[in-house]
Symmetry: D2
Amino acid sequence: MPQPRGWFHPRTATGRASLIPAPPWHYSGDLLTVEYRTDPERVRELLPAPLEPVADDPGAVAVIWADWQSCGDSREELLDPVRSQYRETFVVVRCSYRGRIYSRCVYIWVDKDFAIARGLHQGYPKKFGSIHLTRPHPYGPAPRPGAGARFGATLAAADRRLAQAVVTLREPSESGGFVNAHPMAHHRRLPAIEKGGGLALDELIASGAASFEAGPAWRGEAELDLFDAPTEELARLEVREPIAAYWRQVGVVWDGGTLLESGTSGTSV
Amino acid sequence: MPQPRGWFHPRTATGRASLIPAPPWHYSGDLLTVEYRTDPERVRELLPAPLEPVADDPGAVAVIWADWQSCGDSREELLDPVRSQYRETFVVVRCSYRGRIYSRCVYIWVDKDFAIARGLHQGYPKKFGSIHLTRPHPYGPAPRPGAGARFGATLAAADRRLAQAVVTLREPSESGGFVNAHPMAHHRRLPAIEKGGGLALDELIASGAASFEAGPAWRGEAELDLFDAPTEELARLEVREPIAAYWRQVGVVWDGGTLLESGTSGTSV
Amino acid sequence: MPQPRGWFHPRTATGRASLIPAPPWHYSGDLLTVEYRTDPERVRELLPAPLEPVADDPGAVAVIWADWQSCGDSREELLDPVRSQYRETFVVVRCSYRGRIYSRCVYIWVDKDFAIARGLHQGYPKKFGSIHLTRPHPYGPAPRPGAGARFGATLAAADRRLAQAVVTLREPSESGGFVNAHPMAHHRRLPAIEKGGGLALDELIASGAASFEAGPAWRGEAELDLFDAPTEELARLEVREPIAAYWRQVGVVWDGGTLLESGTSGTSV
Amino acid sequence: MPQPRGWFHPRTATGRASLIPAPPWHYSGDLLTVEYRTDPERVRELLPAPLEPVADDPGAVAVIWADWQSCGDSREELLDPVRSQYRETFVVVRCSYRGRIYSRCVYIWVDKDFAIARGLHQGYPKKFGSIHLTRPHPYGPAPRPGAGARFGATLAAADRRLAQAVVTLREPSESGGFVNAHPMAHHRRLPAIEKGGGLALDELIASGAASFEAGPAWRGEAELDLFDAPTEELARLEVREPIAAYWRQVGVVWDGGTLLESGTSGTSV
């Protein structure tokens, strides 16, 4: 008998209804990155064993706003853009695993379900949010990328504003920041269906871009505000010292990752 | 060292940011159910082995609209209702496993992220949708439950209307329908992070309400329209013969389920 | 030649596309009202001449959350509930005009365009917002109306939370509050299309319900928080002294009002 | 006594809460225009006297998708982009008034309340919609403007898809189309508050851009689908013959218009 098909749920007779196709996934997007230092203890408390804090600049945090268009290999989503466009805000720290430095997304909010689904596969701890960031434009009042250009960015969830930033670009930059510059080390976990049954899935995985292209990066400074909320802990990563802010346009392909280890989180949920 | 906490992602120092708390989960809601018969082959093609079609009335389908308020044991979500209120449309068929009849949700759309997260645990194949259903009200033009009362219900996703129904109540009913009246048999699946690696999680689980209370049910008839869409297969479950429609208010507690079997779907994704 | 038709824009060959039908408009809804006293000067500064503050309790304010289903005379919107359901938060004070007391809505947020359109006709100064309020329910964790029942309510706009309340009901009440209990005195204004041209429309109008029915009211107390925002002045109406809170279900018909005076605001915009 | 201030509602002590500031309004945006011919009678039936059909190509229609960032003179909205970014789909025909040709927007959907408010001033018959259009991007899978580039665009309202287009660019173009190339002739109307009282505001106004800059235009062809809906008449403007499609980036300033005539629509609403 033919079996239901589809890379992701729901699985159906044709597979067409799958919320997302199999990788590779392709992305065009603008990244606005704000890097700063917080109390290193606030970073450490987010790192489960066997991940460890990095020795160099252990309190460095990146808050990144991204404005994406994405698709699978068929690229059909690009022509029905409600299926390709989404925005996200994500918070990245660094950690060390077996002597190697990884980036790690500790918080992330997106505004589409297909992005939630991809995040489940990639180990991003996604929630829904409302995300906005200024777009560059060659005409009218919106900024042209360059010295003095200003970009605003905001994040809200559950009808509360959680973060906002205003970035002023100052000069060309070699990079778009150093905190989100390593392969990602993420957990994929799901509790067992039986109460008290521990974890049904418990993996530490690594992944990064299969290919990456980027335009000129610009560096500047940011005003960043983080707001407390009953259901969030982002504001614990308080800003102690600004580092820099960056704006850059990128093209990315993501095509799978590597299992680092499995079943080592213990049964505690 | 203290470890990050939280029943669901993200896991943090206090656990407060977890998208959902551990079960039990409590629900108050209104259910509008439309039952009909489709081609039994359209049901069968949605059932992966070892699930089998039921012998009796194998083409029966239920399309259910629900208007929920839900919370964890703390009940705090009820007082910040953006965190407790959500709506969903779900499509249920029946199947047989080891000689026992189960209900199975083959499609479901919800409008909040916490509902997506619960569905991942429970094996519901949730996507995002925009869901509306008429609410009863004791004053003004909205319907009072009873003979002749009419309720409308609609579902859209990705900016396309996928289903709509108008239900007219006729008489009191012993039940709220027979298709969604069994324990649920669901799959929980996640592809491996490594390309071609098969499934990292592959479970068949069963679950049902830990407790259930319900008000008087009303039965009537429905006009039901299902619309085709490039990313959906709901319309394949075409209406061949109406059965009945039902309206009922319920209170439900969900508190975990049972693993039926694991790792038997094969490596195909 | 036949002319385009429609009570509201857009006007078309059949009139079917009109955003709203002509009155009467019918409403079923739940009202959660929080009354308190602010600095009377904060109320007075919102009253344009010839409106004057009331002598008795001039600092009284009502913040009201409403969960509506509404329709025109055809009632067709009720069966396509995306067109009938909306929520709103509105802020009411009292004023005096020619010796008579009126209620006046000074701020209001709604979540549907048809509600914006009705407000333009009725003189409500509507903006878009995200509004939530706990609904009563006979089963499960949601409250049953009665002593001790608790309702939460929130308002956000432009991704910022502007107000939130938690109301605890204590006892039956004769009324649902006194601030929003008078006919409404509202302005309808539109600047001239020519720069510096003053006002093209400048009316003071009165209106009230053409008919009104209501269920038992309950009175209790509220915790109310108002939050500042760059584009709002709601928080200027700071809470000095709580009065009471009320919950009630109502049915309302609105069917036009009365022109009190026209063209007296002066040309200042 | 100081009077409440604000160019638009609500009017307050400081004027800060006004939904929109006084013009001028500044815009940066991308325009995707699809021009075609329909039955000229379908255009004529949308033109109230004294507007008349144009003699040359009277069935020409433009359906335009726009992706905007906008602000007032302070430009503060650009740094809180939830207040500056919006999208719209609008439908334009041409008409003749006193021997001069005007463009006229007959249908328009937007996704923000500040855009609704501006439209009231400018005579655009705005409703709410969900609008998406592909954005150009220099990296990754999104299109680079140029020959062969493909853009998708969709419109939905009340949870129904109303229009969709796929545009393929072919060659540079002198213009971005001819249908929306004239000053706009719009009505501003509001029924009287008293039932049967005719119109309180009834103006025919003209307006156009106070300044306009644009990048290179590209011309190509479009597949355009218009879908029927119970509350819309867009699909009456059926596609008889495609003309062309255009993509262009623009900067615009709008700063008021001219009253053509007033009170000539008759009292019929």
